[in-house]
């Protein structure tokens, strides 16, 4: 599996070249949110707003009213927590073209509770007019700006940064409102997003080898959440639907899937893996994924429980799994 670095940083510079309406706002986190290169290339379109997020969000709304498209960059927590009313009244209500790039999703940072955006999707999903996207690999990050372009109102993008894997071929770009179906199966429908998709892929290869038939779906649009292909996969699962998210299990992907199942009359048991109504603490990503049950072995256990059988997969085997690109054209047909 290919690992890429500073994907957003480079992509943004290329993408914004002939888009003079795009301006970038920094909340004193220029290096940490991968906009240093933008600042270097387009100093006239880069604005430092300092550590004052309420002002920054309203400022962005004002600028969007006059024809610019502000790309606001900071850690996610400082946007949706510190400045929620500003996002609602200055951006979401007037339905303005502001793009919010929220970094450090969930437990991806050792910065602890103050820096971990564990409920951003849940909070922002309740805002009318808000579109919510999440990236999980380099291809997602490379194509997410194009996805935002078609949206007239505000967009929140949950971003991954620094070294990120390429799970999906570069040509298979993210699409608005369309999930990636990585495999099709009939026992389990597994729905993942963000960094959980890579982690889940470590388990699904072995699970398939053990004869478990899995539909694996990677979600990139949290709102609007209504891809009929996803509903169809959920309906096909005979034993269980499992969601796995780097977020609390309340309000995010697990809730989205629960709502979709209820609205479509799908009565299969639903298992939601994620932070179980708890804040986390500062530690490495690997440590926290294990502690909060967001790792591959936790997924294996959830599948075992759903099927009520032991699959004899241990952590050593999972650690040995090498991931390759997951193409829509090369789906595992484990029916």
């Amino acid at each position: 599996m290919e690992i890429l670095t500073q994907v957003h940083e480079k992509n943004l510079v290329a993408w914004a070249k002939d888009r003079p309406e795009v301006v970038v706002f920094s909340g004193d986190l220029t290096g940490s949110t991968e906009i240093a290169l933008f600042k270097q290339h387009y100093p006239d379109r880069f604005f430092s707003l300092g550590m004052a997020e309420q002002n920054m969000m309203s400022f962005a709304g004002g600028m969007a009213r006059d024809g610019f498209t502000p790309f606001v960059h900071t850690f996610a927590v400082f946007m949706y927590r510190r400045a929620l009313d500003q996002i609602e009244m200055s951006i979401a209500y007037p339905n303005l073209r502001v793009r919010m790039f929220g970094f450090l999703p969930g437990i991806t940072t050792p910065g602890g509770v103050s820096h971990q955006a564990i409920n951003d999707i849940g909070v922002l999903r309740t805002l009318p007019n808000m579109t919510i996207l999440e990236t999980g690999d380099a291809t997602d990050v490379e194509s997410v700006l194009d996805v935002t372009q078609a949206v007239e109102g505000p967009v929140y993008v949950r971003m991954v940064r620094k070294d990120i894997p390429r799970l999906f071929p570069a040509a298979e770009r993210m699409q608005l409102g369309k999930a990636r179906i990585l495999s099709r199966g009939s026992d389990i429908a597994l729905v993942t997003a963000g960094i959980c998709t890579e982690e889940a892929l470590r388990a699904t290869t072995l699970l398939a080898a053990k004869g478990v038939s899995i539909s694996h779906i990677h979600v990139t649009t949290h709102k609007p959440f209504g891809d009929p292909a996803v509903a169809q996969q959920l309906a096909c699962a005979r034993r269980a639907v499992i969601t796995m998210e780097n977020h609390t299990t309340i309000g995010g992907l697990g809730s989205e899937v629960a709502e979709m199942m209820a609205e479509n009359g799908i009565g299969t048991p639903l298992v939601r893996l994620g932070l179980r109504d708890t804040y986390a603490h500062g530690a490495s990503r690997e440590y926290l994924m294990r502690e909060y049950g967001l790792d591959a072995i936790s997924l294996v256990h959830a599948v075992e429980q759903a099927l009520d059988e032991r699959l004899e997969i241990d952590e050593h085997e999972l650690a040995k799994v090498r991931l390759s690109e997951f193409s829509g054209q090369m789906q595992l047909e484990a029916l």
């Binding site: 006239d44 300092g50 002002n55 600028m63 200055s90």
Partner: protein, 308 residues
């Protein structure tokens, strides 16, 4: 519109508008049994000077009678609020109302300057009307949605930055209340306006010293405002908020490289001295018995007799 026939005539016109705002606000308070009356009384002269002299704006583009509420913002729906302040053009000013609770004062100012029909005021706070009690951007005279305080100055900063990038000469005027100086965002905004040298922003603040719970100095002291704004990088002018000429000349103060803040010290019972008896609880005035209603009705009749 500003007059070119000399000082005496424009001040008379501004005074007429201010008096009209006060009459209409008191009339509405009686008619609807409740209104943001004191805000209109303290700000009437400021808004009158803005609309008759300071603002470089074109004629209204909106219907004299506002249409009913047509829905929340969505693609394809054009909100009329800002259209009452004329068309958008590079050389025209913009007026952004920060304290939306002053809606009644703005509506009355629009009526007095011929931008809205007097009958539209009877739609104030009526179900389905866009002439809402605390308006939003569909309400006459409002470009922003600012019922949650302290957000307009930041939005003005974004508008002003955009206008600077586009090379527009028009200014961005903000009308604020002093209570909003308790909000941290106000100071974030001033610091950002100063940092980015946005001298195309001017701010009139109605310092009436009143808020919901009583006097500002008792609820949360905000003074010394002039020193605070200056320390945050603004050019500051202090004016008697009922002195029409002082309010007008303040707008012409030089403030190169810095936003201009005009602190207008006002009385929240100005022009309706009867209301002094209700101080300091004037946030939302509602008359409590027939005797009160009769007394204020009599007062209004006296006011209406006095015309410029």
């Amino acid at each position: 519109m500003s007059s070119s026939t000399g000082t005496a005539s424009w001040t008379d016109e501004a005074a007429r508008v201010a008096h009209g705002i006060r009459c209409r606000a008191l009339e509405l308070t009686l008619e609807k049994n409740g209104c943001y009356l004191s805000q209109a009384l303290s700000s009437a002269d400021i808004l009158a000077v803005l609309y008759t002299r300071v603002l470089n704006i074109g004629p209204s583009r909106a219907p004299l009678t506002p249409p009913p509420f047509g829905g929340v913002p969505r693609p394809g729906l054009h909100h009329l609020g800002a259209d009452y302040n004329g068309p958008r053009a590079p050389h025209y000013d913009r007026l952004l109302l920060s304290a939306a609770h002053y809606a009644v004062a703005v509506y009355a100012a629009l009526v007095e300057t011929g931008r809205m029909a007097p009958e539209a005021l009877s739609e104030f706070n009526a179900d389905g009307s866009s002439v809402e009690m605390i308006g939003a951007e569909h309400s006459p005279g409002m470009e922003l949605t600012t019922g949650s305080f302290g957000q307009a100055l930041s939005q003005a900063g974004g508008v002003a930055l955009a206008r600077r990038l586009k090379g527009e000469s028009g200014k961005v005027w903000v009308f604020m209340s002093d209570g909003e100086c308790e909000e941290g965002q106000t100071w974030e905004a001033v610091q950002a306006l100063a940092h980015h040298g946005l001298d195309n922003v001017g701010v009139y603040i109605d310092v009436n010293g009143q808020q919901v719970d009583g006097l500002t100095r008792d609820v949360m002291n905000i003074e010394p405002l002039a020193d605070r704004f200056a320390a945050f990088g603004a050019a500051v002018v202090t004016a008697d908020g009922h002195d029409i000429e002082a309010l007008e000349s303040a707008a012409r103060s030089g403030h190169t490289g810095r936003p201009l803040v005009i602190l207008c010290y006002t009385n929240s019972a100005q022009g309706v001295e009867l209301l002094e008896e209700r101080k300091p609880n004037l946030h939302f005035v509602r008359f409590r018995n027939q005797d009160e209603i009769n007394r204020y009705r009599g007062y209004l009749r006296e006011m209406q007799r006095w015309r410029y």
